[in-house]
């Protein structure tokens, strides 16, 4: 029997070992290193991107995004679960629609939540109130026609500047988006899009979705090497080190077929789940569990012991 070949534990040489002392030393060294490095290097200090900063720095992008929200053509409007019901939307692993299975858990109606409700909530000038009434009285087709026509006009205008858009039948859309821009630049839209009804306003889902629908946030992320195609998951702003341990998760996004897959997030999640499970089960996987015995690294660590044994 194999157990008969293993000596009793008291047959091995022993030495004193003070676990409390080692823990105390490790804690002290870690605290000193953390405090020392924080004092030396400080921390990343990039100003946050807010609706106010976006609308001030890139007002035309803000307006084009607000129009896309009204037209229902923005990324948020087309996203599907967990935000809204969109036929065919949502990532899948093979035939398994994970996103759809989870359902709509955080309902978001971009036109209503990002544009119309904030305008209704603020005390408005008569022309804005009239524009809201005109929008609400119109059919869905008419609303779509106005917003699509204005989106096209902004696309063709120099720099997407609303002031240079060609005249056309845009209904109340220019008035609504111009007022929304004013609210955003004043900073009030940031607060209005936070989830109401809570003491602590920490649910940034809606402002984040609105921001992500525009080009400004994406451009800032690209500038800081934070996008998925730039191994962004690993990176931090500035010259600070980031989350280097996420290299494998972000690696898959850089290669085909994932880099061009519409289901990349779900597929990579599945791959990482399988690999993580394999890591947990290493002691049970024949071959892989024997790697330490083949590499004999333990003989390097305990070389004194093995030298005396020879």
């Amino acid at each position: 029997m194999k157990s008969a070949q293993v000596p009793e534990s008291d047959a091995f040489p022993t030495r004193r070992y003070d676990l409390v002392k080692e823990f105390t030393i490790a804690l002290a060294v870690t605290v000193l290193l953390s405090a020392g490095l924080a004092g030396l290097f400080s921390s990343p200090n990039v100003p946050p991107t807010t609706l106010a900063s976006w609308s001030t720095a890139a007002p035309n992008d803000f307006t084009a995004t607000a129009v896309a929200e009204l037209a229902g053509t923005s990324t948020s409007a087309q996203y599907g679960p967990p935000y809204n019901h969109v036929p065919g939307a949502g990532q899948k692993i093979g035939p398994l629609g994970l996103q759809r299975a989870a359902g709509v858990r955080i309902p978001v109606d971009p036109a209503e939540d990002f544009v119309l409700r904030p305008l209704r909530q603020a005390p408005e000038q008569p022309e804005v109130t009239a524009a809201l009434a005109q929008w609400n009285a119109a059919s869905a087709d008419q609303q779509q026609s106005w917003s699509s026509a204005y989106a096209d006009a902004l696309n063709k205008a120099p720099d997407g500047d609303p002031a240079k858009a060609a005249p056309g039948d845009y209904g109340p859309v220019p008035v609504l988006t111009a007022r929304l821009l004013t609210l955003a630049r004043a900073g009030s839209l940031d607060g209005q899009l936070l989830s109401p009804g809570r003491f602590y306003q920490t649910a940034y889902t809606k402002p984040m979705l609105f921001l992500a629908d525009g080009l400004y946030l994406s451009d800032r992320a690209t500038e800081q090497h934070l996008t998925g195609a730039q191994w962004g998951m690993m990176n931090e702003t500035g010259n600070y080190p980031g989350q280097a341990w996420l290299w494998l998760s972000t690696f898959w996004y850089q290669i085909d077929p994932f880099k061009s897959s519409k289901n990349a997030d779900a597929e990579i999640w599945a791959i990482m789940a399988v690999l993580s499970l394999a890591l947990i089960l290493v002691p049970f996987i024949p071959g892989i569990r024997s790697v330490p015995r083949w590499t004999r690294v333990h003989r390097l660590v305990w070389r004194d012991y093995y030298r005396t044994r020879r």
Partner: protein, 61 residues
Amino acid sequence: MTAAPTTGAFAAPVDLNHPGHYLHWGVVQISVANLVVMCLMVTLFVAALLLPFPRGRRDDE
């Protein structure tokens, strides 16, 4: 957009809030800061393997 510089008594001696430096090698793109940290970790690992255990007292029984 660049970071607002930290000023006054709280300014760090080494300010890393500048545009990052990145290395490209095929599909691999890595920041110099991450590379430095990785090299430090590998160095520590190798040192942990190779440095002898401290020998303050021999307590072998």
